[in-house]
């Protein structure tokens, strides 16, 4: 066991066979290979105005962490993400419950919700900017329009997937509407609620980042543009990597929450 641990610690020095025969090890090797090819390729023949080798990106990454304006911009973007997410939850959950529980509302309005969901939202991005300005408000609005539909639709589906037997059972035992909602519907909603949260978070990220890239004064979009236009690819790569890391962390948080909260259901 200690031999394999040593292998894991120094993968590139060892004979590798043991290490590479495990999927995780082979995956790391693939990633390392890509990074090496990238590094060598850029150093041999990359235009320094457009390409940066990974080693320089890592250095730039740590420089950016010490850079107050960039960190403030990241903070702004994070705040936009969370605000849009919270508003989307506050609207999407009640609407989803209403559509899911109320047969007439569902029949009438669920098709409309689905149709709105199918509209490519990139088309309304300039309109959102016109209405909400180029500050954080437009990013929050655009993140909201992206996040609210997955939540609503998943919650409607979650309510409808509750086994009719359970509802009949509760009703025949004399539960009133509120008791049914509180003791049957809501507990069974939890898995789909968290699924909706996860989908909404990735949609939220997409919406906020699209709006940031489109126009931005204070968020990360400002710096992606700045680094592109001043031909500092190592900073741009580093910023993109940082944002990707934030995205992965947010997604992973939602997925953990989803897995944990739906465990009782199995």
């Amino acid at each position: 066991m200690s031999a394999t641990a040593a292998l894991r610690d120094r993968p590139r020095r060892m004979p590798l066979v043991d290490f590479l025969s495990r999927p995780g090890g082979a995956r790391l090797a693939v990633i390392a290979l890509i990074l090496i090819v990238w590094e060598v390729g850029v150093r041999l023949g990359g235009d320094p105005l457009f390409w940066a080798p990974p080693s320089k990106v890592v250095v730039a990454f740590f420089q950016l962490i010490g850079n107050v304006p960039v960190m403030t911009a990241l903070g702004t973007t994070l705040w936009e993400l969370i605000a849009a997410f919270v508003i989307a939850l506050a609207v999407g959950v009640p609407v989803g419950l209403l559509l899911g529980l109320h047969r007439f509302m569902r029949g009438s309005f669920h098709p409309i919700v689905l149709m709105l969901y199918a509209i490519p939202q990139a088309t309304i991005l300039p309109l959102v900017i016109l209405v909400f300005g180029i500050g954080p408000a437009s990013k929050i609005a655009f993140g909201f329009t992206h996040a609210v539909f997955p939540i609503t639709v998943t919650i409607v589906a979650g309510v409808q997937n509750i086994k009719p037997t359970l509802l009949t059972c509760a009703r025949s035992m004399g539960a009133n509407r509120r008791q049914i909602l509180w003791n049957v519907v809501l507990p069974h909603m939890i898995p789909s609620f968290f699924t909706g949260m996860r989908l909404a978070m990735s949609a939220d990220l997409l919406g906020v980042l699209l709006a940031e890239l489109y126009v931005s004064q204070a968020g990360v979009g400002h710096f992606t543009r700045l680094f592109t236009e001043s031909f500092e690819p190592q900073k741009l790569f580093a910023l993109v990597a940082g944002l990707a890391a934030i995205a992965v962390i947010l997604n992973e948080l939602c997925r953990r929450a989803e897995r944990r909260m739906s465990r009782w259901h199995e």
């Binding site: 693939v30 009438s108 509209i119 490519p120 991005l125 699209l210 992606t224 741009l236 993109v240």
Partner: protein, 252 residues
């Protein structure tokens, strides 16, 4: 039940009519600045002019060419790499989490880099569309070929199927529905990301045209192009869903 359906449709029609009326009234007396919200009649008029004049054609052509190129690249690479990866359980375990992890990153982040590499023109749109479409295609291809029922494979082997027969008669039909779903998802996300990145930075295309009119404060024309882009989106959606259903039915 059909009576209930009629009521639902009536409510939906009433809802849409109420929205249209609200839009009409809001802009009728200039309660809302016409720069933010042009009058409904002006927007519809521009939409009609756009459809009648055919002036959408150059932009539509640009967007659809980008979409087609991006989709073909993503489909060829995605299916080929997905099939190769699915050949052994080991490579599936190595690459599947890698692709899934990358797919969970909002890949539109790469767009500023792509603008650096491929320029403002169609190149960067094709690249971003192909990148984003690649992942659902490759993941579904891997899933499709990986989960073929082992009983079929054993049966075919014991009956002495050749390698080609194995692929053509067993693997492909079994994996096909999943692969085709991946292709449809890839097509749709390619379209959405191309439209989105045309909005961010581009020289031509439907997204570009919407932005141009937004920035030149010509909102009626902007709405006309928004309506048009939504129309195209619904048409493409309908086409690929129909194609998917047809293709599913075909080989079996």
């Amino acid at each position: 039940m059909s009576g209930m359906k009629l009521v639902y449709h009536l409510v939906q029609a009433a809802f849409v009519a109420a929205l249209a009326l609200a839009w009409y009234l809001a802009t009728y007396n200039g309660y809302i600045s016409p720069i933010l919200l042009p009058s409904l009649t002006a927007s519809l008029h521009e939409f009609w002019l756009l459809l009648a004049s055919g002036s959408y054609w150059p932009d539509l052509q640009v967007t659809l060419t980008e979409l087609g190129t991006a989709f073909v690249i993503a489909a060829v690479l995605g299916c080929a790499i997905g099939y190769l990866v699915s050949r052994s359980g080991f490579t599936v375990r190595v690459f599947d989490p890698l692709f899934a992890g990358l797919y969970s990153i909002p890949l539109v982040l790469l767009f500023p880099l792509y603008v650096l590499f491929f320029g403002l023109g169609s190149g960067s749109k094709i690249a971003i569309g192909a990148t984003i479409a690649f992942f659902p295609i490759v993941l579904n291809t891997i899933a499709g070929f990986d989960y073929v029922d082992k009983a079929y494979i054993t049966a075919a082997k014991s009956m002495g199927a050749s390698g080609f027969q194995m692929f053509w008669c067993i693997m492909l039909p079994a994996a096909f529905p999943v692969v085709i779903t991946g292709l449809r998802m890839g097509f749709i996300v390619a379209f959405l990301s191309i439209l989105g990145t045309e909005t961010i930075a581009s020289l031509a295309g439907l997204g570009h045209r919407i932005v141009t009119y937004a920035e030149s404060m010509d909102p009626a024309k902007m709405f006309a192009y928004i309506f048009f882009a939504i129309l195209i989106a619904f048409l493409l959606n309908f086409l690929v869903s129909t194609a998917e259903r047809r293709a599913r039915r075909g080989p079996t």
